[in-house]
Symmetry: C2
């Protein structure tokens, strides 16, 4: 299977860094092809604007979706955007590895979506949701939290984490046709003992080997 | 009243640009003090990492929340972060003006939150939700959408927009104590006639003058 792993964490020594490295090694050892986008290491620019394109249809009034459709037709996405689009188009399974910041993805990952998931190339002209361009492909969120598991349950301190992730599961993956796998969550890694951290990495290895054959979850609507 | 308006749109001529300018003029004319953060014009850096700080507690293993608490104690937030924190602390009402991208805020605004809403300074040590640091202050989302209003109703094409905004209303504003005003939404500005556009700007002027006295909405939990 062709697998893209996107990492959004500033510290390579972090749990997110370890989960990312573990995923690459585990999946390659199992015979899968792996490509990566380590957004901090790449110094990926997450500010979506006219820099997404090598040429503009209208240089005096920037309308992003019109420029995206124009760039799809004329092949004029900027190199950094196009490279990411090709990786997303190439993969059968896409994994996002990130810390949950403000109950969502870090800004660098949100900006990656803003720039890379372009109208025309990734959606539009009737290609949405069940008819989405990425139908048949799978997407998997792998994230860490600041708090303990109990804080992310329904009626917990923060509330149901699955509901928190719906804007990503439904609004990004669902909108563009991906099937969504159950998210993999490591709660409060900052407070784990070295043994518990190792156990979490082993759990992730097992999950990864299963994930390639897993059935998607129902994401539901808003 | 002291009002901070944060804008996240790359095109000054856009509807978002017009709503931003209208808000500044309307509120100042009504005698309010207004400060702004025009994130694209400022070229605000939305990538949260060690650049948030002038000194690090641990330069060999970056742990953001620990550094945030350290920076709160020692006054060592980077200048660009500190300037934004001071504006947020100064205001009684904060307005975010942005286009809904992927059912959320643009990456540049998400990254502004990641960097500016720091542990220690903006939350922590029991100061969360109803006991949050910004209790008594109001926050208002003013946004534009790509689609028509019907697409953002429950069981509409995309679903209930109020539910989509919950990670912001509950997870960012609620978490740090803000009272949330009903969001102001302009649907599909790209397809509005010049007259309909002008009518939307007039509607926004009226809403702004009411907003300073409005009662907050119930945001609910996940």
């Amino acid at each position: 299977m062709k697998i893209l792993i996107v990492l959004a964490h500033p510290e390579p020594k972090s749990m997110n860094g370890a989960l990312f490295t573990t995923a690459i090694e585990t999946l390659q050892a199992a015979g899968h092809e792996v490509k990566t986008s380590n957004l901090y290491a790449m110094r990926f620019n997450p500010v979506s604007d006219s820099s997404n394109f090598t040429r503009l249809q209208n240089a005096t009034f920037f309308k992003q979706q019109l420029e995206e459709m124009h760039a799809t037709e004329t092949g004029s996405f900027a190199y950094d955007v196009d490279q990411e689009q090709e990786k997303v188009e190439w993969c059968d399974l896409m994994i996002w590895q990130f810390p949950l910041w403000w109950f969502s993805v870090p800004g660098i990952l949100k900006g990656w979506v803003d720039r890379v998931f372009a109208m025309g190339r990734f959606y539009g002209a009737g290609k949405y949701y069940e008819q989405g361009i990425f139908s048949g492909k799978k997407a998997l969120l792998s994230l860490t939290t600041g708090g303990e598991e109990g804080a992310y349950l329904k009626d917990g301190f923060n509330g149901d984490i699955i509901n928190m992730l719906k804007p990503i599961h439904r609004g990004i993956f669902g909108f563009t046709g991906w099937s969504v796998l159950h998210p993999h969550i490591v709660y409060g890694p900052a407070r784990l003992s070295p043994e518990a951290r190792e156990a979490e990495l082993n759990k992730w290895k097992k999950r990864l080997l299963q994930a390639v054959d897993e059935q998607p979850i129902e994401v539901g609507t808003y």
